[in-house]
């Protein structure tokens, strides 16, 4: 009944091969802006993944009754609802983080990753595969955010901190290059990550 091989494929493709951020270059605004700190990525990644999974699931469940002429407004209403839910819950339970991410949570509504995946995948495939796709894409987005955040925080401040503990520290004498926590550093780091990911994905091909 359930094709596990396909399920696994839909999940794994989102991690590196079809990574939304590093390959499709989608949803970059939030990635470039928020990745100055490692910890931010954990929260924004989780929030976006939550929204993506539930939006794809709902759209996939009702895909047969939504006429294609009005699919976009329906998608937006569904996505915006889940974003607002995340927004309210975060405000209530993690106000510290809410302050840091602030505007980027409501902006998940217009993150092309969500609308893109809902349109390309959720609207066409059965719920189970839609969830696998959403989890994979969300994970890919989160991994990119975390990688960016890790590199930028490490080089820009000399250490990586998350949840009150120091994860990694540069050797003594390292002079933090604060360009990395500023915007140019975001683009530099991003370019290197795209290049590395491309190299990994095309290795072995002629």
């Amino acid at each position: 009944m359930v094709d596990f091989k396909r399920l696994a494929h839909e999940f794994y493709k989102g991690l590196f091969k079809e990574n939304v951020v590093l390959v499709s270059l989608i949803g970059l605004c939030s990635v470039l802006a928020v990745s100055s700190k490692f910890e931010n990525g954990v929260y924004l990644g989780a929030a976006a993944t939550f929204v993506l999974v539930f939006s794809e699931l709902i759209v996939s469940l009702i895909r047969k009754v939504i006429p294609k002429e009005i699919r976009i407004p329906v998608f937006i209403v569904i996505i915006a609802s889940f974003v607002t839910i995340v927004d309210l819950v975060m405000q209530a339970y993690s106000p510290q983080m809410y302050k840091v991410l602030g505007i980027w949570i409501p902006l998940i509504v217009v993150n092309c990753m969500i609308l893109g995946r809902v349109e390309v995948f959720g609207y066409r495939e059965p719920p189970l595969y839609a969830i696998a796709d959403a989890l994979g894409m969300g994970a890919g987005y989160t991994v990119s955010l975390l990688l960016m955040g890790f590199i930028r925080e490490l080089l820009g401040t000399g250490k990586v901190e998350a949840f009150g503990t120091t994860l990694l520290k540069m050797p003594a004498g390292y002079e933090p290059a604060s360009i990395f926590i500023l915007f140019p550093g975001a683009f530099l780091t991003f370019a290197f990550l795209i290049a590395i990911n491309r190299w990994l994905n095309t290795r072995g091909e002629s």
Binding site: V65, I66, P67, E69, I70, P73, V74, V77, I78, A80, S81, T84, I85, L88, V89, Q91, A92, Y93, P95
Partner: protein
């Protein structure tokens, strides 16, 4: 009814159903998180009062004062809340939550004033100032230190007794207006007592 009209009605109905289910679930989430969000916000404000009133508050308890708010907000429009710091029925200091206009939108700031009318400290809780320029004004800086010990009789005005942060005049003006408003509110309270 011809084909097109029927189609339009059907689309409108589908959209309406989707939208009503969505708003229903949003209303429910709002209901269950509202209390907690308000509690968190109040707690944050109480903490801010503790912070701005410095050494005095360590000895007393902080509580919101609705009557004082009503009294003072007649004179000061941008006043949002008044907190009283007291010990054994004696008021030691007040915390005024004011929202003056900044460069990128309203600032929300807490101003602590002791019972003699001296500013004890300032903390900006929410702001949308420009990163790198305006936010230098609002983060605990030398600029904010200037307001310490100002009283209602001081001018508290840029160029008179306050130096603006260069490049961020509007943000500086906003904070200054906030402190002025808090001092005015303090005076309104004092007058009300008499």
């Amino acid at each position: 009814m011809n084909g097109l009209a029927g189609k339009l009605v059907r689309y409108a109905l589908i959209l309406m159903i989707v939208a009503s289910i969505a708003s229903g679930s949003l209303a429910y989430t709002y209901e269950i998180t509202r209390e907690r969000i308000e509690k968190m916000r109040l707690q944050e404000q109480l903490n801010a009062v503790q912070e701005v009133c410095g050494s005095i508050v360590g000895k007393g308890s902080v509580s919101p004062d609705k009557e004082a708010l009503e009294l003072a907000s007649r004179k000061v429009e941008i006043l949002n809340a008044v907190f009283r710091v007291e010990k054994e029925g004696q008021v030691l200091a007040y915390g005024f939550l004011v929202s003056p206009r900044g460069y990128g939108g309203p600032l929300t700031m807490m101003v602590g004033i002791d019972k003699e009318g001296r500013v004890t400290g300032i903390k900006v809780l929410e702001h949308r100032e420009t990163p790198g320029l305006g936010d230098k004004v609002v983060a605990g800086s030398e600029f904010l230190e200037q307001f310490k010990n100002k009283t209602p009789s001081d001018p508290v005005e840029i160029k008179k007794d306050i130096d603006a942060v260069s490049g961020a005049t509007i943000s500086s003006k906003g904070v200054t207006a906030g402190v002025r408003a808090a001092l005015d509110a303090f005076e309104a309270l004092k007058e009300g007592e008499r």
